[in-house]
């Protein structure tokens, strides 16, 4: 998977967040200003942790970064492509090719086996269908699941499911992997393996942004952005 990630210039920004404001339910009594002028840039190969209390805007930021939601104002540029000025279709293409998601609850499709779950992401990236299974198998072997290709999620342990989810996030060689509490539903030993895997990926040059509560997770990052009330209150190298 490192083949696609040629060494990039140190100042090459994979993520550029510019004055992002996100207001939920604007103009209603339940209006919430979830992000309030957030700006930061992430360079290629960085491992960034976004931390903060519940309600600080972490999840909203994750959604905006991942092209799942649009900012009310401001812009997010992922790998040179502005998310604010793209159609729904283009946004889906960016999610498919430029971003890989890893969720807290694994979010695998229950009726597909490990290989099919990973290959589905290849299909959505509009890459050759015949190639999809070969790619999926290669990445699954890479995350240590070569013998679990045909197991459905219900037949896999939590750690294995999260590794399938990581394989799915990596299969299209995205510029950015976004992980939302990737160890939130794992016991500490399994969490350790998943964190090790993320560490290996980053060491190979994969740009990672992890949203987390867990100190064990953010301690591994080389940069920690702390959010409170929708604003960045600290942005330090760990």
């Amino acid at each position: 998977m490192s083949a696609a990630h040629e060494p990039l210039a140190a100042d090459h920004s994979i993520v550029d967040v510019r004055e992002v404001v996100k207001v939920h339910a604007p103009g209603t009594p339940t209006e919430v200003r979830a992000l309030d002028g957030v700006s930061f840039a992430v360079r290629a190969g960085e491992y960034v942790a976004i931390v903060g209390e519940s309600g600080s805007g972490k999840t909203t930021l994750m959604h905006v970064l991942g092209g799942l939601d649009r900012p009310t104002s401001g812009d997010v540029v992922i790998d040179g492509r502005s998310l604010a000025r793209t159609s729904r279709r283009e946004l889906a293409a960016i999610r498919a090719r430029a971003i890989g998601f890893v969720f807290q609850g694994f979010n695998l499709l229950p009726n597909l086996d490990a290989r099919e779950n990973v290959a589905l992401a290849v299909r959505y990236a509009r890459r050759s269908g015949r190639d999809a299974f070969a790619r999926a198998e290669r990445v699954l072997r890479d995350v240590g699941l070569g013998d679990r290709m045909h197991h459905r999620p219900s037949a896999l342990s939590g750690g294995q499911q999260q590794r399938v989810a990581i394989a799915r996030a990596l299969v299209n060689e995205p510029a950015l992997v976004l992980a939302d509490e990737p160890t939130g539903e794992l016991d500490s030993r399994t969490a350790q393996t998943v964190m090790d895997l993320l560490g290996v990926l980053n060491a190979r040059g994969q740009t990672l942004i992890v949203v987390t509560h867990s100190e064990a997770v953010w301690r591994r990052a080389n940069r920690v952005i702390r959010l409170a009330d929708g604003r960045i209150v600290a942005d330090d190298a760990a």
Binding site: H63, G66, L68, D69, R88, R89, A92, A93, R95, A96, R97, F101, F103, N107, L108, L109, P110, N111, L112, E116, L120, A121, Y124, A125, R168, N172
Partner: protein, 385 residues
Amino acid sequence: MTALRDLASRPARTFFTVAGIAIGILALTVVGSLAERLHTIVARATALNSDVIFATIRRSALVSPNARATVERAYGKLKALDGVRAAVPEIIVPYESGSANARFGPPSLIFGFPEQARAMRHELLVVDRGRMYAPGERHVAVIGPDFAAAERAGIGDVVALQGSSYVVVGTLDKTFTIFDASVVVPYADAQDLLRQTIPPFVDTLPSDPVSAFMVLAKSGTDVGLLARRIALIDGLSARDPREVANAVRSTLGIFDAIVFGAALIALLVGAFSVVNTMTIAVTERTREIGIRKAIGATDADVLLTFVGEAAMIGALGGIAGIVLGLIVVVAIDARSAQGGNLQLFAISPAVALGAFAFAVALSVVAGFVPALAAARLPPTVALRR
């Protein structure tokens, strides 16, 4: 195949939804086969009889004191009519079956034609097995296929016609006309049978009795006009064959509207169950929709996923309905053949393919609105579920 697996993961719901479509398609296949059969019968009969007018001797003329003179005069006038190529005497006597079975289809009749009519009747009187009776032969019968089935009679068997015994020497090819359920006997035998139907106190029949004339029109003749002129001859009645065909066609049209309407209502109920199932599926799988979108699915991808499932329900329901329909049709026809009735259904690939395509198309239409709702779900909303 993923669609099939998603459906299989909810077997009970899928079963009942597929059953809803299957029942509709079952109804459509059965009535479609029935309609197909009726249309074939009418089309063949119309084609074979388009230039033939049946001039029947009125019963009142046949039993009147001067029947002989009336019939002879009528025959003479008939032959002299402009546009008449030939007028062939025929005997048609109703067959009274000893069997108590209730019957569908046209009544069984006993026919007798003079030798010269045989060539004209050639198209309708093709012997399938056995042989046609020889000139001068008596007390032999050639029976139609439906008559053979009804009376369980074959070549060499003896059948009773109005109390007299007749040996079956041949069976006729299927023509989808009244001849399928009828018996053809030598002309002299038919005349005897006709005499038996006349009350004994009326001894007025001509020595060479007939009950009808088969009138063949010259080519280019207006058969409608000819039929009206024949009907004006004293003692004869005749109908324009096109009028008969049109009456049958319009009756058939009403029949089609009623039976297809009923089948469509059954299908519509099935379609609503597809809407219901797909709406539940979309609600249950909101999170899955969010996941698919997060990993790059476009609105169209999600739409296709759910429409594909609806189409699969339609395809499964279609296949099940057609198979069940065929079983019903074959079973009814088998029973009907045992009872000596006409075969009721004609299964055609067009009916089956049409029913299948309709099931799939209807399910796609029914699944479209829930699928569209799924496709338009914002990913963040979907992922929150």
